[in-house]
Protein backbone atom coordinates (compact mmCIF):
# COMPACT_ATOMS: atom_id res chain seq x y z
CA UNK A 1 0.00 0.00 0.00
CA UNK A 2 1.11 3.54 -0.70
CA UNK A 3 -0.27 6.65 0.93
CA UNK A 4 -1.32 9.68 -1.16
CA UNK A 5 -1.57 13.08 0.55
CA UNK A 6 -3.14 16.23 -0.85
CA UNK A 7 -1.38 19.33 0.46
CA UNK A 8 -2.39 22.94 1.05
CA UNK A 9 -5.67 24.01 -0.52
CA UNK A 10 -6.61 20.62 -2.03
CA UNK A 11 -9.54 19.65 0.15
CA UNK A 12 -9.24 15.88 0.04
CA UNK A 13 -8.47 13.23 2.63
CA UNK A 14 -5.42 11.00 2.16
CA UNK A 15 -5.80 7.79 0.17
CA UNK A 16 -4.26 4.37 0.80
CA UNK A 17 -3.80 2.69 -2.58
CA UNK A 18 -2.48 -0.63 -3.80
CA UNK A 19 -0.45 0.59 -6.79
CA UNK A 20 3.09 -0.04 -8.03
CA UNK A 21 3.87 3.06 -10.07
CA UNK A 22 2.81 6.65 -10.71
CA UNK A 23 1.14 5.83 -14.03
CA UNK A 24 -1.40 3.78 -12.12
CA UNK A 25 -1.91 6.71 -9.77
CA UNK A 26 -2.53 9.06 -12.68
CA UNK A 27 -5.17 6.72 -14.12
CA UNK A 28 -6.92 6.45 -10.75
CA UNK A 29 -6.88 10.13 -9.87
CA UNK A 30 -8.04 11.21 -13.33
CA UNK A 31 -11.36 9.49 -12.56
CA UNK A 32 -12.00 12.09 -9.81
CA UNK A 33 -13.47 15.15 -11.57
CA UNK A 34 -12.83 17.37 -8.53
CA UNK A 35 -9.11 16.75 -8.88
CA UNK A 36 -8.93 17.56 -12.60
CA UNK A 37 -7.49 21.06 -12.27
CA UNK A 38 -5.20 20.13 -9.38
CA UNK A 39 -3.66 17.31 -11.42
CA UNK A 40 -2.65 19.77 -14.14
CA UNK A 41 -1.01 22.29 -11.82
CA UNK A 42 0.34 20.24 -8.91
CA UNK A 43 3.84 18.86 -8.43
CA UNK A 44 4.30 15.31 -7.20
CA UNK A 45 6.67 14.15 -4.47
CA UNK A 46 7.56 10.57 -3.62
CA UNK A 47 8.81 10.25 -0.06
CA UNK A 48 9.22 14.04 0.06
CA UNK A 49 11.33 14.31 -3.08
CA UNK A 50 9.72 16.04 -6.05
CA UNK A 51 9.76 13.87 -9.18
CA UNK A 52 9.73 15.07 -12.78
CA UNK A 53 8.23 12.05 -14.54
CA UNK A 54 5.80 9.22 -13.90
CA UNK A 55 8.48 6.58 -14.47
CA UNK A 56 8.87 5.92 -10.78
CA UNK A 57 8.33 2.51 -9.22
CA UNK A 58 6.49 2.50 -5.90
CA UNK A 59 6.92 0.10 -3.02
CA UNK A 60 4.90 -0.69 0.05
CA UNK A 61 4.96 2.19 2.53
CA UNK A 62 5.86 4.93 0.04
CA UNK A 63 4.34 8.35 0.57
CA UNK A 64 3.14 10.41 -2.40
CA UNK A 65 2.30 14.11 -2.00
CA UNK A 66 0.50 16.44 -4.38
CA UNK A 67 1.76 20.03 -4.11
CA UNK A 68 -0.54 22.63 -5.70
CA UNK A 69 0.76 26.10 -6.77
CA UNK A 70 2.69 27.82 -3.97
CA UNK A 71 2.94 31.36 -2.66
CA UNK A 72 5.13 31.78 0.40
CA UNK A 73 6.38 35.04 1.82
Amino acid sequence: MVRVEFLGPIQKDPLELDITNLNELAVLLQKDKELAEWLTNSAVAVNDTIVSSLDVALKDGDKISLLPPVCGG
Binding site: A26, L39, A45, I50, S52, L66, V70, C71, G73
Partner: protein, 148 residues
Protein backbone atom coordinates in the same frame (compact mmCIF):
# COMPACT_ATOMS: atom_id res chain seq x y z
CA UNK B 1 18.86 28.18 10.24
CA UNK B 2 15.22 27.76 9.27
CA UNK B 3 12.71 28.86 11.90
CA UNK B 4 8.93 28.54 11.67
CA UNK B 5 6.68 30.53 13.97
CA UNK B 6 2.98 30.41 14.72
CA UNK B 7 1.60 33.79 13.65
CA UNK B 8 3.49 37.01 12.91
CA UNK B 9 7.27 37.35 13.16
CA UNK B 10 8.97 39.60 15.70
CA UNK B 11 11.13 41.18 13.02
CA UNK B 12 13.41 43.42 15.16
CA UNK B 13 14.14 40.52 17.52
CA UNK B 14 14.96 38.08 14.71
CA UNK B 15 17.12 40.58 12.79
CA UNK B 16 19.02 41.30 16.02
CA UNK B 17 19.50 37.63 16.91
CA UNK B 18 20.85 36.81 13.47
CA UNK B 19 23.14 39.85 13.43
CA UNK B 20 24.54 39.03 16.86
CA UNK B 21 24.90 35.31 16.10
CA UNK B 22 27.27 36.16 13.22
CA UNK B 23 28.91 39.18 14.84
CA UNK B 24 32.39 37.64 14.83
CA UNK B 25 32.03 35.33 11.82
CA UNK B 26 33.83 37.87 9.61
CA UNK B 27 31.04 38.38 7.09
CA UNK B 28 31.24 41.82 5.52
CA UNK B 29 27.65 41.86 4.21
CA UNK B 30 24.34 40.97 5.86
CA UNK B 31 21.16 41.35 3.79
CA UNK B 32 17.80 40.40 5.26
CA UNK B 33 14.67 40.52 3.13
CA UNK B 34 11.53 41.16 5.20
CA UNK B 35 8.06 40.42 3.80
CA UNK B 36 5.12 42.24 5.34
CA UNK B 37 1.38 41.79 4.77
CA UNK B 38 0.05 44.66 2.65
CA UNK B 39 -3.44 46.06 2.73
CA UNK B 40 -4.98 45.31 -0.67
CA UNK B 41 -8.26 43.94 -1.98
CA UNK B 42 -9.89 44.49 1.39
CA UNK B 43 -8.11 41.61 3.12
CA UNK B 44 -7.78 41.45 6.91
CA UNK B 45 -4.61 39.41 6.70
CA UNK B 46 -3.05 36.30 5.22
CA UNK B 47 -2.79 32.74 6.41
CA UNK B 48 -0.16 30.14 5.54
CA UNK B 49 0.07 26.36 5.32
CA UNK B 50 3.57 24.88 5.22
CA UNK B 51 4.65 21.40 4.26
CA UNK B 52 7.74 21.12 6.40
CA UNK B 53 9.54 18.02 5.08
CA UNK B 54 9.95 19.46 1.58
CA UNK B 55 10.54 22.99 2.86
CA UNK B 56 13.45 21.62 4.87
CA UNK B 57 15.01 19.79 1.95
CA UNK B 58 14.55 22.84 -0.29
CA UNK B 59 16.21 24.97 2.40
CA UNK B 60 19.08 22.52 2.86
CA UNK B 61 19.84 22.67 -0.87
CA UNK B 62 20.09 26.48 -0.62
CA UNK B 63 22.35 26.19 2.41
CA UNK B 64 24.68 24.10 0.29
CA UNK B 65 24.58 26.60 -2.59
CA UNK B 66 25.42 29.34 -0.10
CA UNK B 67 28.31 27.33 1.37
CA UNK B 68 29.82 26.95 -2.09
CA UNK B 69 30.06 30.74 -2.23
CA UNK B 70 31.38 31.13 1.31
CA UNK B 71 28.01 32.47 2.45
CA UNK B 72 25.32 31.40 4.90
CA UNK B 73 21.55 31.86 4.91
CA UNK B 74 18.85 32.15 7.53
CA UNK B 75 15.10 32.09 7.11
CA UNK B 76 12.00 32.58 9.23
CA UNK B 77 8.38 32.10 8.17
CA UNK B 78 4.97 32.24 9.77
CA UNK B 79 2.44 29.41 10.04
CA UNK B 80 -1.25 30.28 10.29
CA UNK B 81 -2.64 33.79 10.42
CA UNK B 82 -0.67 37.01 9.98
CA UNK B 83 -2.64 40.22 10.03
CA UNK B 84 -2.26 43.46 8.04
CA UNK B 85 1.11 45.20 8.46
CA UNK B 86 2.54 42.23 10.32
CA UNK B 87 5.46 40.30 8.79
CA UNK B 88 5.42 36.67 7.74
CA UNK B 89 8.79 36.10 6.07
CA UNK B 90 12.45 36.93 6.56
CA UNK B 91 15.22 35.52 4.40
CA UNK B 92 18.81 36.59 4.97
CA UNK B 93 22.27 36.07 3.57
CA UNK B 94 25.63 36.72 5.17
CA UNK B 95 28.72 36.71 2.96
CA UNK B 96 32.26 38.03 3.02
CA UNK B 97 31.64 40.34 0.04
CA UNK B 98 28.74 42.44 -1.10
CA UNK B 99 28.32 41.21 -4.71
CA UNK B 100 27.73 37.64 -3.64
CA UNK B 101 25.29 38.76 -0.96
CA UNK B 102 23.31 41.01 -3.34
CA UNK B 103 23.06 38.33 -6.02
CA UNK B 104 22.32 35.54 -3.56
CA UNK B 105 19.47 37.25 -1.74
CA UNK B 106 17.75 37.88 -5.07
CA UNK B 107 18.08 34.29 -6.31
CA UNK B 108 17.16 32.87 -2.89
CA UNK B 109 14.01 34.96 -2.49
CA UNK B 110 12.86 34.35 -6.07
CA UNK B 111 13.32 30.60 -5.81
CA UNK B 112 11.53 30.67 -2.47
CA UNK B 113 8.56 32.29 -4.18
CA UNK B 114 8.61 29.76 -7.02
CA UNK B 115 9.37 26.56 -5.14
CA UNK B 116 8.92 26.62 -1.36
CA UNK B 117 5.94 24.43 -0.37
CA UNK B 118 3.92 27.13 1.33
CA UNK B 119 0.33 28.01 0.52
CA UNK B 120 -1.16 31.43 1.04
CA UNK B 121 -4.76 32.28 1.84
CA UNK B 122 -6.49 35.64 2.04
CA UNK B 123 -8.37 36.32 5.26
CA UNK B 124 -11.46 38.24 4.20
CA UNK B 125 -14.92 38.53 5.73
CA UNK B 126 -14.13 35.70 8.13
CA UNK B 127 -13.13 33.32 5.33
CA UNK B 128 -9.80 31.76 4.37
CA UNK B 129 -9.52 31.84 0.57
CA UNK B 130 -6.65 30.22 -1.35
CA UNK B 131 -4.64 32.93 -3.15
CA UNK B 132 -4.81 30.99 -6.39
CA UNK B 133 -4.11 33.89 -8.74
CA UNK B 134 -0.88 34.84 -6.94
CA UNK B 135 0.38 31.27 -6.68
CA UNK B 136 2.99 29.60 -8.89
CA UNK B 137 3.01 25.99 -10.01
CA UNK B 138 6.20 24.29 -8.84
CA UNK B 139 8.50 23.35 -11.71
CA UNK B 140 7.54 19.92 -13.04
CA UNK B 141 3.90 20.27 -12.05
CA UNK B 142 1.14 18.61 -14.02
CA UNK B 143 2.61 15.17 -14.67
CA UNK B 144 -0.39 13.44 -13.12
CA UNK B 145 -2.74 15.33 -15.42
CA UNK B 146 -1.25 14.00 -18.64
CA UNK B 147 -3.49 11.47 -20.38
CA UNK B 148 -2.30 7.87 -19.86
Amino acid sequence: MLSLYDGALDVPKILKEWYEAEATSNYGAYIPFVGTVRSEDGIDGLSFDIYEPILESWYKAWEEKAAQKGAIIKMAHSRGDVMLHESSYIAAVFSPKRRIALEFIDAFVEDFKASAPIWKYDLKNGERVYAKDRSTAIRGSGILGAKQ
